[in-house]
């Protein structure tokens, strides 16, 4: 138990500082570690908790609490959330205090521009990893493609799209 909690704390504390460009870029690594390395969750469960986190209020990074919950119960959930929040929040606090000193410097511009393509690659990878975890079968892939098109090119609220897909599931279509 203590060993698991230490593993959770160590892993998410590092992941916190690797979350360049927002929370969704670390989803693939979380999947790799929690499903493939530690075996805390199955592929399907990972897809499911992603859907639960997406349809709950608050930052979707809070999915880490569900990974912790499955791995080590409530203590696991709290340790995972603290570990994921503390390092990046501390950094944000320190940087926001001193930001006037380095605004507009060449290296800041370089970081801002240089992060963009890597972040975009990671967000693409994130979509790909989640789709692979969630979808088993041609119809599920079809539903993902359809919901992607609806969410990207129409003004329907993403929550409605997810719940509609859930209704299709309840009807036994998928």
């Amino acid at each position: 138990m203590i060993k698991t909690l230490l593993a959770i704390a160590g892993y998410f504390a590092v992941l916190s500082l690797l979350a360049v460009g927002g929370g969704s870029t670390v989803i693939p690594d979380m999947h790799r570690y929690a499903v493939l390395v530690q075996g805390w969750l199955t592929d399907r469960q990972f897809g499911d908790i992603y859907a639960i986190a997406r349809t709950s209020p608050g930052p979707s990074t809070l999915i880490v609490s569900l990974v912790g919950l499955k791995a080590a119960g409530l203590p696991g959930a709290l340790v995972a959330t603290l570990a994921m929040c503390t390092p990046c929040s501390t950094l944000a606090f320190l940087v926001s205090r001193g930001r006037v000193m380095f605004e507009g410097r060449p290296w800041v511009i370089a970081i801002e521009r240089g992060l963009a393509p890597v972040t975009l690659g990671l967000i693409g990878a994130s979509a790909c990893v989640i789709t692979r975890a969630a979808d088993h079968g041609v119809i599920a892939y079809g539903v993902t493609a359809a919901t992607a098109a609806i969410a990207a090119f129409t003004r329907f609220h993403p929550l409605l799209v997810i719940f509609a897909a859930g209704a299709l599931g309840a009807l036994g279509v998928i």
């Binding site: 979350a19 927002g22 859907a51 639960i52 569900l66 511009i109 693409g124 993902t144 998928i174």
Partner: protein, 193 residues
């Protein structure tokens, strides 16, 4: 820009008195609940700029781009930056608690129910559908971010290499970032005119 941001650091734009820590927590809780299902940036802008007038549009853009450079989720980072600006570390902590605590309690309740009942056939069926749909919204997010980006051959190659390493080879993120970020940042270094 520099003048603007130092003003924004020292004093709020319109507010006569800086908001208390409790007020910061309440405001960020409100933003977190409003951005249920996405759109946290849009809601932060509406609440902080349009409704409360704590920031001008330019100041808000500055704060947002800072949060996007910093590692970590954007909304909690914004809470830290805004909270710290008004009330130092107490304000940062209060705003962060506002963003996280209530949503965490809701999510943990949902998660506990899920792990208790995920063998039930109807729960499985609904979640099979919902997770396919949620994956679709992740794909849509990727499309929407990639579409307006001014792609060049260089940036497309960097994004593709990152994508293949992570999604194709399941390489650990630490390694991918250790290789890709220095290259990408070096290539993006502004040239002297």
């Amino acid at each position: 820009m520099a003048g603007n941001s130092s003003a924004c650091r020292d004093a709020p734009l319109n507010g006569p008195a800086p908001p208390s820590a409790a007020r910061l927590a309440a405001v960020f809780l409100r933003i977190a609940m409003l951005s249920f299902g996405g759109g946290s940036l849009m809601w932060s802008q509406r609440v902080l700029v349009e409704r409360l007038g704590w920031f001008s549009d330019t100041q808000f853009l500055g704060a947002i781009s800072l949060c996007q450079i910093l590692p970590g989720p954007n909304l909690p980072n914004l809470a830290i930056v805004v909270g710290a600006q008004y009330r130092g570390w107490r304000g940062a902590g209060a705003a962060l608690a506002g963003v996280i605590l209530v949503p965490l309690a809701i999510l943990l309740t949902a998660g506990a129910l899920y792990f208790r009942f995920n063998e039930v056939r109807l729960v499985q069926a609904v979640l099979t559908g919902m997770s396919a749909g949620a994956a679709g919204t992740a794909v849509a997010a990727a499309i929407k971010l990639a579409q307006p980006y001014p792609w060049s051959v260089k940036s497309a190659a960097l994004a593709l290499m990152t994508f293949v390493a992570v999604a194709g080879f399941e390489a650990p993120l630490v390694i991918v970032l250790a290789v890709m970020l220095p290259v990408s940042i070096a290539l993006a270094w502004p040239r002297r005119a």
